[in-house]
């Protein structure tokens, strides 16, 4: 048994979600884990991957075809490398979700989507109905193609390893089916939502995008990432990549602070595995209070500045 983890990276660095996927792979295949870094000019990411604790080797596929991770080009590469592996894994991020089902179909196997636990090498637990039920499935396919819910698997160490990097020959017959045009990525000094220790999110109660600076002040004091509910995103307060919820990002930080968020099922699905949940809302009947460890009823426009001041006192 051996597992290949498809790395998520930004050419110069490895994205943290890769380490959660490696953690899941370890539960399946023990020490026999390789990481694939496919991209263009991405040797630095491969070098970072080689330092991952407890992996066997890094496969490095470099070529223009793999730039931006276009699934049409990367999927045939993964399929070609699949021989010799019992399991192919990737983080359940937008890029993993985009790529892996294409790989699975080319191999004529079913993907096991977004696993949250490994029962045995062929049996896995995965959330369905937005996390309102947990399904245990056994794969009958010869190769298991899996995406991994990062919050369910604590990441392996990013350092300590010294695996060798093995270049793999890039496929030359480009599909030419798709072309990357541009990206509008949000720039932020704050930690990434999915890997932050503390997350503070705003909902419709924030009333405008400008008011998010109140959240940001608190976030800065806690080293927190800033998120939002679907309502806040749909209202145009903040961009889509802020969205926490079933259709946005799934987070499970040590501390989650929900501000002006009522607690729709779709939002709860994205954050209810957080260790400690705080809710701040003026409506004491808001469903978010039912799952919050600490609820504070009141006007967020008064509470947020107070909270920032109070945190100052304790620092």
């Amino acid at each position: 048994m051996a597992a290949l983890v498809v790395a998520e990276h930004e050419n110069a660095s490895l994205k943290p979600a890769t380490l959660n996927a490696v953690a899941a792979a370890k539960e399946i295949a023990g020490a026999d884990i390789d990481i694939l870094v496919a991209g263009n000019d991405c040797r630095a990411a491969a070098e970072a991957a080689a330092k991952t604790a407890g992996i066997r080797k890094v496969l490095l596929a470099e070529g223009v075809a793999y730039d931006h991770g276009l699934a049409e080009n990367v999927a045939p590469l993964v399929v070609k490398l699949a021989e010799g592996y019992s399991h192919l894994l990737a983080p359940a991020t937008t890029s993993g979700k985009n790529l892996m089902p294409r790989v699975a179909a080319l191999l004529d196997v079913m993907q096991i989507s977004e696993i949250s636990a490994v029962v045995s090498p062929d049996t896995f637990v995965r959330p369905i109905y937005a996390g309102n039920a947990l399904q245990t499935v056994r794969s009958k396919d010869p190769i298991k193609v899996i995406t991994v819910r990062g919050t369910a698997f604590p990441p392996v160490e990013a350092s300590g390893g010294s695996a060798m990097i093995e270049p793999v020959v890039a496929l030359t017959d480009l599909t030419g089916l798709s072309e990357f045009l541009r990206a509008e990525l949000s720039k932020s000094e704050r930690p990434e939502l999915t890997s932050a220790r503390v997350v503070i999110s705003g909902g419709r109660g924030m009333q405008s995008g400008d008011n998010f600076h109140l959240l940001e002040k608190v976030a800065d004091k806690l080293g927190a990432a800033v998120g939002a509910s679907r309502a806040a995103v749909d209202a145009g307060f903040v961009p889509n990549d802020y969205q926490v919820g079933q259709t946005g990002k799934i987070v499970a930080p040590e501390l989650y602070i929900a501000v002006g968020i009522s607690g729709a099922i779709q939002h709860l699905a994205g954050m209810k595995d957080s260790k400690v949940i705080v809710a701040i809302n003026k409506d004491e009947e808001a469903p978010i209070f039912q799952i919050a460890d600490y609820g504070l009823v009141g006007d967020l426009f008064k509470i947020l500045p107070e909270l920032a001041d109070e945190l100052d006192k304790h620092q």
Partner: protein, 249 residues
């Protein structure tokens, strides 16, 4: 060009689902069923492309038990031109769905296929990607904007870091994200009209597709319940509790 949309019958998104006591599944008896919300967005987008004069005909396909016909009727009431039902009592998993859709597509020859990025029941997020792989077509998943010109689709996608725009060659498969559009409601006259629109019925056997399940579902459990509901009286008390009781700051 023809557009094909796939529509799945799922438990309505407003229903609080219940796991069966014997853990074999989720209660569906006497539960309201609706079209998967992401598929509604797919239907809407296809209709808008038809209204813009880019698409000439919108075909709605559903797969599953006889009642899936109701889901197709909903698409027809929204404005789709005709329907195809692939009828089977077998439990269909995404790989089988993709193979069945491929077979239908080879008969219908659409140039654009639009489907929801995932179904809100099994949350798989696979079918569109699998379908495009089987067809050897390009894919654009999680679309929030679609522009068609010169045999290409320029698609803006919702990705983890923000937005990404790609150009794909038609024919292609596009999967929808939430912000692509707001689906219309079917008006009463359109609901009446939809009753007369044709729905062709076929089967996996007729299409020559093996739909055997690859994943055996061993059990369905309820997730662990979260204990909450405690209130604090002030910001000072909150910060103190987070520090001394929860120890997270």
């Amino acid at each position: 060009m023809k557009a094909l949309v796939a529509v799945k019958r799922v438990i309505d998104y407003n229903v609080k689902i219940r796991v069966k006591a014997d853990k074999t599944g989720v209660e569906t008896a006497n539960v309201k069923m609706s079209m998967n919300p992401f598929d509604e967005i797919a239907v809407e987008e296809a209709l808008r492309l038809r209204e813009a004069g880019i698409v000439t005909e919108v075909i709605a396909v559903s797969l599953g038990i006889a009642q899936c016909q109701e889901t197709i009727r909903t698409a027809l009431a929204m404005g789709a031109d005709r329907g195809v039902l692939v009828q089977t009592d077998a439990e269909l998993q995404p790989l089988a769905v993709a193979k069945l859709l491929k077979a239908v597509i080879q008969q219908e020859n659409p140039e654009i296929v639009i489907i929801g990025k995932q179904a809100i029941d099994d949350d798989c997020n696979q079918t569109g990607q699998m379908l495009s792989a089987l067809l050897g077509w390009p894919q654009a998943t999680f679309a929030s904007k679609i522009k068609i010109s010169d045999g290409h689709a320029e698609v803006t996608r919702e990705v983890d870091g923000g937005l990404e725009t790609i150009s794909i060659k038609l024919p292609a498969v596009i999967t929808t994200d939430l912000r692509l559009n707001e689906p219309r409601y079917a008006s009463l006259p359109n609901i009446m009209k939809a009753k007369k629109k044709p729905i062709a019925t076929t089967t996996p056997e007729a299409l020559g597709v093996d739909v055997t399940s690859r994943l055996a579902v061993l059990k369905i459990d309820e997730p662990p319940k979260r204990q909450g509901g405690h209130k604090v009286g002030s910001v000072a008390e909150l910060v103190d509790k987070l520090k001394t009781e929860a120890r997270v700051i």
